[in-house]
């Protein structure tokens, strides 16, 4: 299907409105917000469901249904009607009087129909607004939960008493190590570092994204090591969708650089 097979089955369920796991639903909707390919697949899956609908085609509705519809659309024409032609002076009064009772009844009937439609529309709008409100509340709750988790991670990373423990094979010294997590779709990355060497005040570590098309390395954020040699960084790229073949780290002046300054101090292992 598409480039994200992990969503394939959930997408099919979603197209049918049959996905009811809140976590899966939230994750998929979040993904659909950023992935055009999966949105297109969703449209194709809806077309597949339309094919399924064809299996039910057969019986025709009774004639009264057609007339009922035509009466309804006649009662609410979309185009503004032309202004009525003025009556000839001298005949207006007598005609009006002769048709007055009928006109009043017609007006009342039309008014009743319009009122009925308005009440029905209002009820439908209220139901739709209520459903929308519930959906928004659920979304807000999910967003708050994600925010809470992100804050908890951030608090832990920056806690004054955070104890970073690296476990290595016995009888070896801990090696400086950097780990990155990069999402092409989100255009963001996260980095954690351990056992880094301290840098002078006027120097900083800078991460570089190496585009897979061979173009120039792109700045991907700066970070420093704390007194224990640990570092942490979250960085949003200027745009999403950049294919990366790897990352590298150089040491730059404290305000950073637009191009990497050799040597490369960290590269993919």
């Amino acid at each position: 299907m598409n480039g994200h097979p992990q969503y394939a089955e959930a997408l099919a369920l979603y197209a049918l409105g049959a996905l009811d796991n809140p976590q899966e639903l939230a994750e998929l909707e979040s993904h659909l917000g950023t992935c055009g390919e999966c949105r297109r697949e969703l449209e194709a899956l809806r077309a597949d469901t339309a094919l399924l609908a064809l299996s039910a085609v057969g019986p025709k509705p009774p004639d009264r249904t057609r007339q009922r519809l035509l009466n309804a659309i006649a009662a609410e024409p979309r185009m503004p009607k032309k202004a009525p032609q003025p009556y000839a002076v001298g005949r207006l009064r007598s005609r009006w009087f002769s048709f007055a009772p009928v006109a009043v009844m017609l007006m009342l009937a039309v008014f009743s129909i319009l009122l009925g439609f308005q009440v029905r529309n209002a009820n439908r709008d209220v139901r739709a607004a209520r459903a929308e409100n519930e959906r928004m509340q659920a979304e807000l709750q999910r967003a708050n939960e994600k925010l809470r988790q992100a804050k908890a991670v951030d608090d832990l990373m920056h806690a004054p008493d955070a104890w970073h423990v690296d476990l290595v094979a016995q009888h070896t010294r801990p090696q400086p190590q950097i780990k990155t997590i990069y999402s092409k779709q989100q255009g963001s990355l996260m980095l954690t570092a351990t056992s880094l060497a301290q840098l002078p005040e006027n120097k900083i570590y800078e991460l570089w994204l190496l585009p897979s098309d061979g173009s120039a390395p792109m700045p991907a954020g700066m970070f420093k090591a704390d007194k224990n040699g640990n570092g942490w960084m979250y960085h949003a790229m200027q745009s999403a969708g950049i294919n990366a073949k790897g990352f590298a780290v150089t040491i730059e002046d404290a305000r950073g650089s637009e191009t990497p300054t050799p040597p490369i101090v960290f590269a993919p292992g």
Binding site: E9, E43, A47, D48, A53, L54, V57, M79, A131
Partner: protein, 183 residues
């Protein structure tokens, strides 16, 4: 004005009817009804198994199209599949006695399958039914429970006693089998 039954209408006919309907031409709406009421009614009747309720869905779907003709974007799909899915969703709403879950205008459907010609539509119906009969029974059942009964995958798993993952796979595989048949 009715569309001639002697000539097979093409996509332009639909586009012309929709343009006229958007301009407020009630006869164009009548023509669209004549062409597609069978699709809308058939789906609603299958879901609701009640002719009166299915007629209500037909009324609702076409009236919404009349009130909000911009809802259907011809650039993003054909009218027949769109009406079929809208009809199914409205019927499920009736079935579950709930307010509509999504606006009529938020349902892009991507398909190049032409269902405007009545003869082509009949062929497509036969083809779909043939594909469905060739599917493994469990797969077809899962698909129909989700589409025509509006059941979630958890509900289907609960009713059939199958694992959730199996239900998911069956539904997706079934839909793809339909797509493949029309590719």
């Amino acid at each position: 004005m009715r569309v001639s039954g002697t000539q097979a209408p093409d996509h332009k006919d639909d586009a012309a009817l929709i343009a006229r309907m958007r301009a407020g031409d009630q006869s164009a709406m009548a023509d669209l009804y004549d062409r597609y009421s069978g699709v809308v009614y058939g789906v609603a009747l299958r879901v609701l198994a009640n002719t009166t309720a299915a007629e209500d869905v037909v009324q609702e779907v076409f009236l919404q199209l009349w009130r909000n003709p911009q809802a259907f974007d011809a650039g993003r799909g054909r009218l027949a599949p769109w009406l079929a899915v809208i009809s199914r969703n409205r019927a499920i709403d009736h079935l579950r006695k709930r307010a509509p879950e999504e606006d009529i205008d938020e349902l892009p459907i991507s398909t190049g399958i032409d269902l405007e010609d009545e003869a082509a539509r009949k062929l497509a119906v036969e083809k779909v039914r043939a594909v469905l009969t060739q599917l493994p029974q469990d797969q077809r059942k899962a698909l129909e429970m989700a589409f025509f009964e509006g059941m979630t995958h958890t509900e289907i798993a609960g009713k059939t006693g199958e694992p959730l993952g199996t239900v998911k796979t069956r539904i997706r595989t079934g839909l793809l089998a339909l797509r493949k048949a029309f590719a």
